[in-house]
Amino acid sequence: MQAREFLLKFNLMHKVIVTPEDVKKIAKLASLKLQENEVELFADQFTKTIDVVNQLNEIDTSKVSGTYQVNNLSNVTRDDIVDQSRILPQEMAIREAKHTHNGFFVVPRIIDTDTTEEII
């Protein structure tokens, strides 16, 4: 058996199980809080979803590169000049914020704390 074919078969058999511990870790990475019942629920649902995704391993992509952008534009740039029409006035920019101070956003402390402080 060719090495690539073997790897393909191995991949097909390689079931991924997303555990409740994985789910808790992902929630932390995504800065989300879950209800207790959602941990088990998501673990089970993610495992099933990954099963569907893993069908992609049936397709040989060893000779193709990925498509990030479909309409073939690249390096679209503009002159490095301030465009006043794209700038919100400061009072407009902060209008929807719950906490502001002297025209600035107030943000939670992220240094010297285990988790993001709940000040918002």
Partner: protein, 474 residues
């Protein structure tokens, strides 16, 4: 004379010019209908309080200058993921409850410039995450053809607004199916322009590499008029195509389809699809043949693979896009996200995380390349690809519950074309169980004129664009 709420863009403009009614009459008429029907179908989330004042100004403009703008005085419904100055915008999510946008989206700016009047903002799946409107934090929209059924989604409110005649036309957006599928389930015309043809600036992001704003309308002609207005290069969205926008409404005048080569995709007639739905697609193919097109059966990659590709790309881009909702600069705290939003952010966080990025994200992007290459090959020979929009008619309310991949399964026939950024029209092609079925006519990127003209010819020669009976709701 036709009823005011059933008129098309052209018919409204004729009415204005002949002084049969004014823009104020029309807006008042729609507002009365909305007041009666909206509580029963939950289509609009917010109404434009300035609509009548705007209508007065438009009446003055018409009597002074006539109709010099393509959408002058056309009452429209806008999907709630487009930022609109002066109208609360929530993307149907509690995290944006009460949010007043600080700027206007690119496409709604263009609609305003063209003279459109916004009646209000329409319900959708929360953050467009779904194909049912059931993930909306403000309750599902109900299907005007049968309120026990869903309108589809995510642009379900926009599709239902057009079907229930609560607006002349609507704006929606499609990431994979979100215009065409609700259009099909509600029996209206939907058009997804190529990726990059319409600007995403000010459209609350879902999957940035496939999001495409587009219209939902009474017919293909109206879709062509609106697509022309909203298309074009926008310096604020670097992915918009620089190609010139064609004059789509003027390119519709095909008397037949002679010389047009159409591919009917075998794999899109899914084994589990109802025979009566398959029959409607096959008779649509027959109709296209009668109109002069050649229709050949072709084979494409099993659509099940596009489910995997779409799921990974969409979840990954969602996890990145929705990280901006931090409750600091606008909106509420992240714990106000609904469960579906959390599920999508987290799966995307997982597929992008160290150790899984290659296995899932890069793999999905590589299969995406295969899908793009396959379409490129097909379009060397064929002008368009046809198939059903959805495997069946509108499902019942509650159908999406406990189905974490509901949307992916319902949009299985649309994902490949979205992943590849193609242009695609969805038009009604018949009914089963009293519910509409849609046909997709998909063309290569930037071939909007071709998709619209084939769809227009089909629509002119068939009679499937009907109105549901809502008299009992009035």
């Amino acid at each position: 004379m036709m009823k005011l709420h059933e008129l098309t863009i052209k018919q409204i403009h004729e009415g204005y010019l002949k002084k049969e009614f004014t823009c104020v009459d029309l807006v008042k008429h729609f507002q009365n209908r909305i007041e009666k029907i909206n509580p029963k179908l939950n289509i609009y989330l917010a109404l434009n309080e300035k609509a009548l004042d705007q209508a007065k100004a438009i009446d003055a403009e018409i009597s002074e200058k006539g109709i010099t703008r393509p959408l002058l005085g056309i009452p429209m419904a806008i999907k709630d993921n487009f930022l609109t100055l002066g109208i609360v915008t929530t993307a149907s999510s509690n995290i944006l409850n009460g949010y007043k946008p600080q700027y206007e989206s690119a496409v709604t700016s263009k609609l305003i410039e063209a003279g459109a009047i916004f009646l209000g903002k329409t319900n959708m799946d929360s953050f467009a995450h779904g194909s049912s409107t059931e993930t909306s934090d403000f309750g599902p929209t109900l299907n005007p053809w049968n309120p026990e059924h869903l309108p589809g989604g995510s642009s379900g409110g926009s599709a239902a607004a057009v079907a229930a005649c609560l607006a002349t036309a609507a704006l929606g957006s499609e990431t994979a199916g979100s215009i065409r599928q609700p259009a099909a389930w509600c029996g209206v015309t939907g058009f997804k322009p190529s990726y990059g043809r319409t600007s995403r600036y000010g459209c609350i992001a879902m999957a940035s590499s496939t999001d495409s704003p587009g219209p939902l309308t009474r017919n293909v002609e109206d879709a062509a008029i609106i697509t022309k207005v909203i298309s074009g290069k926008d310096s604020r969205d670097a992915t918009t195509a620089p190609a010139l926008v064609e004059n789509y409404p003027d390119l519709l005048n095909r008397s037949d389809l002679k010389g047009i080569k159409i591919a009917l995709v075998k794999e899109y007639l899914l084994p589990e699809m109802r025979q009566d739905v398959k029959d409607l697609v096959l008779s649509a193919a027959e109709k296209l043949r009668q109109l002069g097109a050649t229709v050949d059966e072709i084979s494409l990659l099993d659509p099940k693979y596009s489910i995997g590709v779409y799921t990974v790309i969409q979840r990954s881009e969602v996890s990145s896009n929705l990280s901006r909702f931090d409750g600091i600069r606008f909106g509420h705290k992240r714990d106000t996200f609904c469960q579906e939003t959390k599920r999508r952010i987290m799966l995307g966080t997982y597929t992008l995380s160290a150790g899984y990025y290659d296995a899932f994200y890069k793999k999905a992007l590589a299969v995406r390349t295969k899908i793009v290459e396959e379409f490129n090959e097909v379009f060397k020979t064929y002008d368009a690809i046809i198939g059903a929009v959805s495997p069946g008619p509108a499902l019942k309310v509650g159908a999406s519950k406990n189905q974490p991949m509901f949307g992916e399964m319902e949009d299985v026939l649309l994902e490949a074309s979205s992943i590849a950024g193609l242009a695609s029209a969805g038009v009604p092609c018949g009914f089963v169980d009293g519910l509409p079925i849609g046909l997709q006519i998909t063309t290569d990127q930037l071939q909007e004129a071709k998709a619209l003209s084939i769809a227009h010819c089909f629509q002119k020669n068939t009679d499937f664009q009907l109105f549901p009976d809502l008299e009992k709701m009035l």
